[in-house]
């Protein structure tokens, strides 16, 4: 399990290969890549700037990965999240989970994303032609997280 917060881009394929080849009892590798879209709420996005709270980010993401490992029989997981200023089509985040069988990896990967969205201290600011604005929280993210509580 690893967490990396970085300004630089990452090579998703290389990360997935490393995770996959690390263990020959891995049968399934599920991953999520998030990228900057060129439109949000109807406005063209020029750049997206990600701010974070460094010490807390790492702690929060590690806790989320640990919780995923408690809930599902997974082999390894990786979270890479970028900070700084990004353009449309740039990668923001990679979450990858390996396991023997696919069901565990799918659930754990989606769980980590849902909790990252609502529990890791990142904040997004968009630059549009009308100026800068903070991205608003989406109700759908709270609902996505709530699904896991039972």
């Amino acid at each position: 399990m690893a967490v990396r917060i970085q300004m630089e881009d990452f090579d998703a394929g290389q990360e997935l290969n490393k995770l996959r080849l690390a263990n020959s009892s891995i049968g399934a590798l599920v991953s999520f890549v998030g990228q900057v879209r060129d439109v949000n709420e109807g406005d063209a996005i020029n750049t997206l700037t990600l701010e974070h709270y460094p010490e807390m980010t790492e702690k929060a993401l590690t806790a989320i990965e640990n919780e995923a490992k408690t809930r599902w029989d997974i082999i390894d997981s990786l979270v890479i999240h970028r900070v700084g200023t990004l353009k449309p089509l740039e990668q923001i985040v990679l979450v990858a989970v390996s396991s023997a069988h696919r069901g565990e990896a799918f659930s754990a990967c989606e769980f980590i994303m849902d909790f990252l969205k609502t529990g890791a201290p990142f904040w997004k600011k968009e630059a549009t032609n009308q100026g800068e604005r903070w991205v608003e929280v989406k109700l759908s993210d709270d609902l996505a997280k709530a699904r896991w509580e039972k």
Binding site: I92, V93, V137
Partner: protein, 85 residues
Amino acid sequence: MNIKILYFARVKEAVNYSAEELALPNDISTITALKNYLSQRGDTWADLFDGKQTIHAAINHELVDNLATIKAGDEIAFFPPVTGG
């Protein structure tokens, strides 16, 4: 007691700085008490903590609620709901 406060994102922009060191009166021992204390600084602060917007608090990198206890040396952070990913 001495504490450190960090501000992030929209909150940082409102108060116009990202961190401060503060000598708190010893009777300010919860997040709620700290919010009320800071609110006395004037409009910006009072607006921030008037409860109309969600402001999360963390103590030493852990999300906490308003009843959480502050100790000397703590690093407190105030920030809006998160929007990463």
